[in-house]
Symmetry: C2
Subunit: 174 residues, 2 copies
């Protein structure tokens, strides 16, 4: 599928609702579960997505539109920053994600991007030149990768419990 902004928007719009449907109100034995040491729980994944909304997609798109490849993107720390004080509830994080995503999509819409702009380039510190359309396609694919990860993390909690069906469920050993 070629990148098409009008096909992308409906997916970006629904990611907060996907995650809410998957996670909101679930017992913490699911939402804090991980795939092992140094791996992320659904809670941490949602925090990472909030962080990306704030520092990654739209700020980088703006950098491309305003400066092109003249200024490299700010390095991106994939770890969510530690949050001060009381830990936010997952419900709060899901609300925050929905809010910042809506703001970012409103910003994107306000740009009324055309083909020429989508082909503009920015400078990634590892990859070199990348286009705005590649950045925006990555926004979608990154959402879906983390939705799949949330499902996988939860599925793996039953790796043993499924008994011999494990052989039919490759996700449990991925």
């Amino acid at each position: 599928m070629n990148f098409d902004l009008s096909a992308q928007i409906p997916l970006l719009e629904r990611t907060p609702a996907m995650l809410r449907a998957m996670l909101d109100g679930l017992p913490s034995e699911w939402t804090d579960a991980t795939e092992g040491p140094e791996t992320w729980s659904p809670y941490v994944i949602v925090g990472h997505l909030v962080h990306c909304e704030r520092v990654n997609w739209v700020p980088r798109a703006r950098m491309i539109l305003e400066h092109g490849p003249a200024r490299p993107f700010a390095p991106f720390d994939r770890e969510p920053p530690p949050r001060e004080g009381a830990r936010q509830t997952l419900g709060d994080l899901l609300d925050e994600f929905a809010g910042v995503r809506a703001e970012n999509l409103a910003t994107l819409a306000s740009w009324r991007l055309d083909e020429r702009q989508l082909a503009l380039e920015g400078l990634h510190t590892e990859f070199g030149r990348v286009t705005l359309s590649q950045l925006l396609a990555t926004w979608v694919a990154h959402d879906l990768a983390h939705v799949a990860q949330v499902a996988r993390v939860m599925a793996k909690q039953y790796r043993e419990a499924v008994g011999p069906w494990r052989a039919f469920l490759p996700i449990l050993d991925r």
Copy 2:
């Protein structure tokens, strides 16, 4: 995580809403997309889940409760049966899935399963003896495996469009 019926129910209850949040109203370029020949689209995956609700989980659980390992499970054809006449819309399939899932969870609740019953065995034609709790854990893991698959199938549509970010998104080449 050990299998615990009370932890399982909230996940099984929300799978129809997860899939609705992911798919309902999306353009068919997403919902009919596949990972290549002989692979499933999100539309086909939802049809498979409906089929499993009708012929797999609850019928097999009933077989265990009524006959134990004395009668093997009916063989399960993982392909959804061809549907007669006009193809159902994805919205119709999602409604059908929500309906049969709710019926099946009502049946499950009506059994008021205790630890003794969860340990009862049935006969799988390939695996041999399996327990009711293994079957029910597989119901959950199978849901989540297909939710992850739906996200992966859609993400892969942007395998080329993301450009060099493909290296950071292993889901695109899985």
